[in-house]
């Protein structure tokens, strides 16, 4: 996980973590199988993402299957299962009509010298409270209680 975050940092990827990893940075801890992230929706940024994945996963040829045309077009969500087999990535350029890299409030965190962009607790709460998965609603409630957020 750190190897990938370091590669994101080195490539200057415009991204923000939005899932359980982001919650972990805020001290609300649960296990997960994936890293969820929004990236800025530009072709250049998709190329940065691919370079970072290639650096982290020994030029896995599957990375060529990540296409700017998809992420900027009809497929705003791409899932990448790397060869390490231990976690996977849900990369998104938008979620519904309103949520995307630009609209999610973010802050910087640091781990082992790596700068990581993380959605704020309030932003995570807003993303999670309206979704259908019970796990997300549970996350939203945990965030609300931990950070004394107001119900919207």
């Amino acid at each position: 996980m750190l190897r990938v975050l370091r590669a994101f940092d080195r490539e200057g990827l415009d991204y923000v973590l939005i899932g359980a990893a982001a919650m972990g940075f805020h001290g609300v801890v649960r296990a997960t199988e994936d890293l969820d992230l929004f990236i800025r929706a530009t072709a250049e940024n998709v190329e940065r993402l691919k370079r970072a994945f290639r650096a982290a996963y020994a030029n896995d040829p599957n990375i060529d299957g990540i296409r700017a045309g998809d992420l900027l077009g009809d497929y705003p969500a791409v899932r990448y299962y790397p060869p390490s087999g231990d976690l996977y990535f849900d990369v998104m350029t938008r979620l519904g009509e309103a949520a995307n890299f630009e609209t999610v409030a973010q802050e910087n965190k640091e781990v082992e010298g790596i700068c990581v962009r993380v959605a704020t607790p309030a932003a995570l709460y807003r993303l999670k409270k309206g979704t259908v998965r019970p796990l997300d609603r549970q996350d939203a409630e945990a965030l609300r209680r931990r950070f004394d957020l107001q119900e919207e």
């Binding site: 996980m1 750190l2 359980a20 990893a21 919650m23 972990g24 940075f25 805020h26 001290g27 609300v28 801890v29 649960r30 296990a31 997960t32 199988e33 994936d34 599957n62 990375i63 299957g65 990540i66 998809d70 009809d74 497929y75 705003p76 969500a77 791409v78 899932r79 990448y80 299962y81 060869p83 087999g85 231990d86 976690l87 996977y88 849900d90 979620l95 519904g96 965190k109 781990v111 990581v116 979704t131 259908v132 998965r133 549970q138 409630e141 945990a142 965030l143 209680r145 931990r146």
Partner: protein, 77 residues
């Protein structure tokens, strides 16, 4: 706080794990590693694209179902 009391399972499930400031990511990574050892997963390889979040969630559930079936088929030691 070493002991917390809850009136319902729902209340307990929603209670955040309190982690000292700055330790969140490390605890998160350890928790994921523990989870992996308890329930090792097999994932497909490669890139999959989705038009909507619901599609992505359905695909995730199919992979989870396959993993659960595989684990149940594995005899306990």
């Amino acid at each position: 706080m070493t002991v917390e009391r809850f009136r319902t399972i729902e209340e307990m499930a929603a209670a955040p794990v309190i982690v000292p400031p700055g330790e969140g990511f490390e605890r998160f990574a350890r928790q994921c590693a523990r989870y992996w050892r308890i329930a090792p997963r097999v994932y497909p390889r490669g890139v999959f694209r989705f038009r909507a979040l619901a599609e992505a969630q359905s695909a995730r559930e199919r992979v989870t179902d396959e993993n659960v079936a595989r684990m149940r088929a594995t005899p306990a030691r």
